[in-house]
Amino acid sequence: MRRPTRKCKANPVYLPPLAVAAIVLVIAAKVQAADAPIPHGTVELIAEDQWITPEHDFSLGLHFQLEQGWHIYWVNPGDSGEPPQAQWSLPPGIITEPLEWPAPQRLGTAPIVDYGYNDSVVLLVPMRASATLASQQTARLGANLRVLVCREVCLPGKARLALTLPVRPQTPAPDTRTKALFAQARRSLPRAAPPSWRFSVTDTKDAFVLTADLGHRVAQATLFPLMESQIDNAAPQKVEATASGFRLTLRKSGQLLKTIERLKGVVVIASDHAYIIDVPVGKAGARRR
């Protein structure tokens, strides 16, 4: 039997601390990552600008990329599902505003219809940097993300993301690497309706009828409700073109037991432009000017 050559052996006393150090480094590396895997996709935290300027607003983005057929959910997920949620760890001097959601798509078919995104989407994260940040040279922005990814089945995912950006007094310069992604995301955000447009909503016991007066005929429109359990998500939305706009009949949700004061949501007109609406609900027969 061959004798094993005696090589240098690590002193066992040092092994545990070394192992701990290695583990800490691995965890630190993971926590520092701006991108992470999620079920059937990836998510990355991206910055619009190259640095953060104190007393300026800026945006980050949560860029989701999903495998074919898999989807995530809108802020109102619809009949099933759950929207992604982020918890932020931010340095003093930075606060975050609510996420900004690109216009969603209808997912699924009756009797279960949801709202969300296939392929890829960037959720915008508006942030504000106050003057107190000026004393820092860098800012580390961290997110603990929870996301549900579904196709025929649903898989919950978690990701820890972090981005460290320089803090500089100069006006922020855009990051050319993320420019296209942010431009696309901003184009997909629902916008405020032009002031000349008029919307009204009538409660007809079984449905809400949304009447839009835009100054031109519109043959196709869809409403994505912001609040859950107001309209029946699976019911077809009957649209009638009128000379100056359209009328959309939205069947009420079977879970709606009382009247609502306002109908809030995103109206997508001709599968192109998306507008935010927030309309008081009137009774049928009441005349509104």
């Binding site: 099933s80 759950e82 009797p111 279960i112 579904c150 089945v153 069947r251 079977g254 879970q255």
Partner: protein, 207 residues
């Protein structure tokens, strides 16, 4: 016929059709539609046989992370035990279509119940989705409570933490327990309906 009256007629027709399609779907405050189902234990159960008792319908898919949240923590099993002990009839209902997530044969479901120490009154097998559609069950879990007079008094989520996180059970307000407690005390159910949270029910043709 004028354009206006033609339009009105069309609107009425559309609304009637929509109403007809959903005529049988249960709604809070209305009589619970009757059904008959075969359970995993081989017996047949008819809802109207339980008039005089509170009945809980629990839509179930053991692969759904939201269902697993309540089963891996024993939360659902504890609820079943607690309320059955107080005279409630508890039906777990599986409306998954064959081949889809959550579909179980009778013996598979019996094995699952044994493994999970779950003891509902019965686990009803609804592979055609007929009962699910009758109650417009959209998620797993979705909870429906029927009072002793056969009226739906609660329809919606199991609790107020719509996540798949087991850590969200401890602090959650359980809507089912709250509704049963209030109804048993003769009080109106304070929160009779909520948006149910979970995975979509795996009916045939739907994902």
């Amino acid at each position: 016929m004028t354009k206006r009256s033609m339009h009105s007629l069309m609107m009425v027709a559309v609304l009637l059709l929509a109403a007809a399609l959903l005529a049988l779907a249960a709604k809070v405050g209305e009589p619970a539609p009757d059904f008959t189902a075969t359970a995993s234990n081989g017996k047949t159960y008819r809802l109207s046989d339980y008039r005089g008792k509170f009945v809980v319908l629990e839509w179930h898919n053991n692969g759904c992370p939201y269902t697993r949240k309540h089963y891996t923590t024993d939360n659902m099993q504890q609820l079943q035990k607690e309320w059955i002990a107080r005279g409630v009839v508890w039906f777990t209902i599986i409306s998954s279509s064959p081949g889809k997530q959550g579909y179980m044969t009778a013996s598979e479901e019996n094995d699952y119940l044994a493994k999970m120490h779950a003891a509902p009154t019965a686990a009803l097998l609804d592979p055609t989705g007929a009962i699910g559609h009758l109650y417009d069950a959209r998620t797993t879990p979705q909870m429906i409570i029927i009072d002793p007079q056969g009226v739906v008094i609660y329809d919606g989520a199991i609790d107020d933490r719509p996540t798949a996180d087991v850590s969200d059970i401890a602090g959650a307000t359980n809507y089912v327990s709250a509704a049963l407690k209030q109804a048993m005390e003769g009080k109106p159910v304070a929160i009779p309906t909520t948006r149910p949270y979970g995975c979509s029910v795996k009916y045939s043709g739907v994902h």
